[in-house]
C-alpha cells in the first residue's frame, strides 16, 4: 500500500516536471519575452540574474589576494589614465552624471564616481577583489567586457586602486590624475 502511494506520488511529480520543462521551452520559443534594452526585466528575472551573478563572482574570486601597496600614488596614477580611456564612457567621472551609454545600456553601468552605497556595490577588500575579477573577466550579456586578454594583472590592480579613490576626487583632481600627458607613457 505504501509502495503504491510512493509510486503514485513519483508519477505525478514526473508529470509536473515534464509539464514545467515543456512550458518553459514553449515560452522560450514563443518569442514573448521582451529582449529590448529599453524594457526592464521583471522582478523575478532581476532577482535570478543578480543572484546568479553575485554568487558566481564570490565563488570565482575567493582565491584572489589584494596586493599590499595598492593605495600608493604610483598605482593611482597608472590606473587613472587607463580608467579614463577604457571605463569613464560607461562608468562616468566626477562632475558627469550620465552619458549615451548609461542612458542606453541595460543593466545601466554603475556610476563609479559615486560611493559604493550610492550605487549598491560592495566596498572594502571584498569590493577590491570583486572589481578586479569583474575587470579581468567581464560579465556576460551586460556590456562589461573582459579586459584580461589584453591587460596583465598589475594593470588591472592599478585600475582597482584608482577606483577606490575615484568617489573622493573633484573634477580638477580627476583631470590631473588621469592625464597621460607626454611624460607618462613610459610609466603607464
Amino acid at each position: 500500500m505504501t509502495a503504491r502511494k510512493i509510486f503514485s506520488f513519483g508519477k505525478y511529480l514526473l508529470i509536473a516536471a515534464g509539464v514545467t520543462v515543456l512550458g518553459g521551452l514553449a515560452f522560450l520559443y514563443s518569442g514573448l519575452y521582451p529582449m529590448g534594452a529599453d524594457v526592464p526585466h521583471n522582478t523575478l528575472t532581476i532577482w535570478a540574474l543578480e543572484t546568479l551573478r553575485e554568487r558566481s563572482i564570490v565563488r570565482a574570486a575567493s582565491d584572489i589576494e589584494v596586493p599590499e601597496d595598492l593605495g600608493s600614488s604610483d598605482h593611482l596614477l597608472k590606473g587613472g589614465a587607463d580608467y579614463n580611456d577604457m571605463c569613464a564612457g560607461c562608468h562616468l567621472k566626477p562632475g558627469k552624471m550620465q552619458s549615451d551609454f548609461t542612458l542606453g545600456l541595460y543593466p545601466a553601468p554603475p556610476n563609479l564616481a559615486l560611493h559604493g552605497d550610492e550605487h549598491d556595490h560592495d566596498e572594502g577588500q571584498n569590493g577590491q577583489v570583486r572589481r578586479f575579477w569583474i575587470i579581468k573577466h567581464g560579465i556576460k550579456a551586460s556590456g562589461m567586457p573582459a579586459w584580461g586578454p589584453g591587460h596583465d594583472d598589475e594593470r588591472i590592480w592599478n585600475m582597482v586602486a584608482f577606483l577606490d579613490r575615484l568617489p573622493t576626487l573633484s573634477p580638477e583632481q580627476y583631470q590631473i590624475l588621469t592625464a597621460r600627458g607626454e611624460t607618462n607613457v613610459d610609466d603607464n
Binding site: 593605495g71 600608493s72 600614488s73 604610483d74 593611482l76 596614477l77 587613472g80 589614465a81 587607463d82 580611456d85 577604457m86 579586459w147 586578454p149 589584453g150 591587460h151 579613490r165 573622493t168 576626487l169 580638477e172 583632481q173 583631470q175 590631473i176 590624475l177 588621469t178 592625464a179 597621460r180 600627458g181 607626454e182 611624460t183 607618462n184 607613457v185 603607464n188
Partner: protein, 95 residues
C-alpha cells in the same frame, strides 16, 4: 583543401589575437592624450595639503614638472626684470 582551410583559420585567429593584444597599449591612447591641468594645484593653499595622502602625492608627481617649469620661468622673468632695471639704471647714470 582541409589543410588550407585550417591554416587560414589559424592565421586569422592569430591575427585577431595579436590585434586585440595591441588594442590597449597605452601608446595607442597618446593620440588623444591630455596634459594635466595643474592650474588648480597652483591656486591651492600648500600649507593645508595633506602630503601623506596618495591622491595629493600623485597630483604632485603629475604637476611637478609643470610647477618647476613655471618657477623657472618666473625666476627667469625676475632675472630679466632685474637685468632690465640694472640696464636702465646704467643708461640713466650715463645720461
Amino acid at each position: 583543401m582541409k589543410t588550407k582551410t585550417l591554416s587560414f583559420a589559424i592565421a586569422l585567429s592569430t591575427f585577431a589575437f595579436a590585434l586585440s593584444a595591441q588594442a590597449h597599449d597605452p601608446k595607442e591612447h597618446m593620440k588623444d592624450a591630455e596634459n594635466p591641468d595643474c592650474s588648480a594645484m597652483k591656486n591651492m593653499d600648500h600649507s593645508k595639503m595633506d602630503m601623506d595622502d596618495p591622491v595629493m602625492q600623485a597630483m604632485m608627481k603629475q604637476c611637478m614638472q609643470d610647477m618647476q617649469h613655471d618657477e623657472a620661468s618666473e625666476s627667469d622673468g625676475h632675472a630679466d626684470e632685474e637685468h632690465e632695471a640694472d640696464t636702465d639704471g646704467e643708461e640713466s647714470a650715463e645720461e
